[in-house]
């Protein structure tokens, strides 16, 4: 009985070791898994109202710089007017009391 037990233990140990090494080799040569969230922008597509896909958060595209946006607009669209333009701010305004009492604040 004792030699049988010893043999069984050795057999279990060897098969575990061989399976582990084989699994390791298999995984190391396998393709990388697809990311959980796709990098689909969704930026230009309308959001479908109440659809199942609307419940999946998306990752958004990187934000372009505003200067480059205006530059691209004027370079690329001769027919359509740019929808954004830089505006001057008043350097002389400050915390002085002449500013109107109604303020934009912001919620």
């Amino acid at each position: 009985m004792k030699p049988f037990k010893i043999g069984l233990r050795i057999w279990i140990a060897l098969t575990s070791l061989v399976s582990f090494v084989a699994g390791w080799a298999l995984l190391s040569h396998a393709n990388k898994p697809a990311p959980l969230l796709t990098s689909n922008t969704g930026g230009a597509d309308p959001l479908p109202l109440g659809s199942a896909s609307a419940r999946t958060p998306v990752t958004l595209p990187p934000i372009p710089s505003l200067d480059s946006l205006v530059g691209n607009q004027s370079a690329s669209s001769s027919s359509s007017a740019p929808s954004i333009q830089p505006l001057p701010s008043l350097p002389s305004t400050g915390s002085s009391s002449f500013l109107p009492r109604i303020r934009t604040r912001g919620s």
Partner: protein, 308 residues
């Protein structure tokens, strides 16, 4: 011009009116009362509000007052107009980000919730159903909504009409959501200070606002710390997280305040990527935005809105 300032809807409310003192003061008093009544009905921070009753309806049809029905129907219209960028069904995400009590309480005591690791179930506002004939609203089981900004805009405009009965030239400004009636004496527009979002005591420009609505959304006003993370209240419905945007503030001028509020939010959340699309949905909307370097940007016809 006479002014009256008080606190309501977790913000500072400013009333302005021109006319005989007794009449304008009566108007101020009635308007304040009206705003306080509306707040009780639409706040999500009171269990006794009608909005909280609606949020507890849990998959059953809810018989609403005409006012609540009107605000929800208006919100649905603006949800569709902005193709989902304005979405009052982001309440779960807003609370998950730590905005689970009023801003006054949050400023006093901070956010109790640590960052939520389990993502809440995501609802879209388009899932609700409205029964105009019987003035009923159906929220899917588990959905709760926040009417915060749009209700504030709707209340400001209604309140301005209450005040206009006592002062023909008047304005109501509820924390950046305003409605102007008539022109101030001798003026061609209402002068409004465009606040520096980072230093609110300073002004970046003076705006010339015609009668109608104006609303400003800013990522700098309602902020709090949740653990180590800095959070703000403008949730991007696409990511269900506080919006990552290049704008510090977005001011929109439109005929109605609730509409201005929804577009301000949508333009701010959408960022510069979405400007063309949003403006094509509502060509009458004008905006003035402040970017992270405090530079001003505006829609094509916004320049005359700045006092030079």
């Amino acid at each position: 011009m006479q002014y009256h300032e008080f606190r309501a809807m977790n913000t500072s409310v400013l009333l302005a009116g021109d006319g005989p003192v007794a009449s304008v003061q009566t108007g101020f008093s009635l308007t304040q009362k009206y705003i306080e009544e509306c707040e009780k009905r639409f706040t999500r921070f009171s269990e006794a509000s009608e909005l909280s009753d609606l949020n507890r309806s849990n998959g059953e049809w809810f018989e609403a007052s005409q006012d609540l029905f009107d605000v929800v129907a208006l919100a649905m219209h603006l949800y569709r107009q902005t193709e989902g960028l304005f979405d009052p069904a982001i309440l779960e995400a807003l609370e998950a980000a730590g905005y689970d009590r009023s801003m006054d309480e949050l400023r006093l005591y901070g956010s109790a919730a640590s960052p939520v690791l389990v993502r809440p179930r995501l609802f879209r506002f388009g899932e609700i159903r409205l029964d105009a004939e019987r003035c009923r609203i159906y929220l899917p089981r588990g959905m709760r909504i926040d009417l915060g900004g749009i209700a504030k805009g709707w209340i400001a405009e209604r309140a301005a009409k209450v005040l206009a009965d006592w002062a023909q030239v008047c304005a109501v400004d509820a924390g950046g959501d305003g409605f102007m009636v008539g022109y101030p004496p001798g003026e061609d527009a209402w002068r409004v200070t465009l606040e520096d979002p980072l230093e609110p005591v300073r002004g970046l420009a003076v705006l010339k606002i015609p009668p109608g609505g104006v609303a400003t959304s800013a990522v700098t006003r309602r902020r709090w710390k949740q653990g180590d993370q800095e959070q703000h209240h403008l949730i991007d419905p696409r990511t269900q997280n506080p919006a990552k945007t290049e704008w510090l503030s977005m001011t929109v001028i439109a005929p109605h305040t609730a509409e201005a509020e929804a577009y301000a939010k949508s333009l701010l959340i959408g960022g510069s990527n979405e400007i063309n699309r949003i403006l094509s949905l509502e060509p009458g909307v004008e905006f003035i935005a402040v970017d992270r370097r405090k530079k001003l940007w505006g829609s094509p016809h916004s320049r005359p809105l700045l006092q030079m």
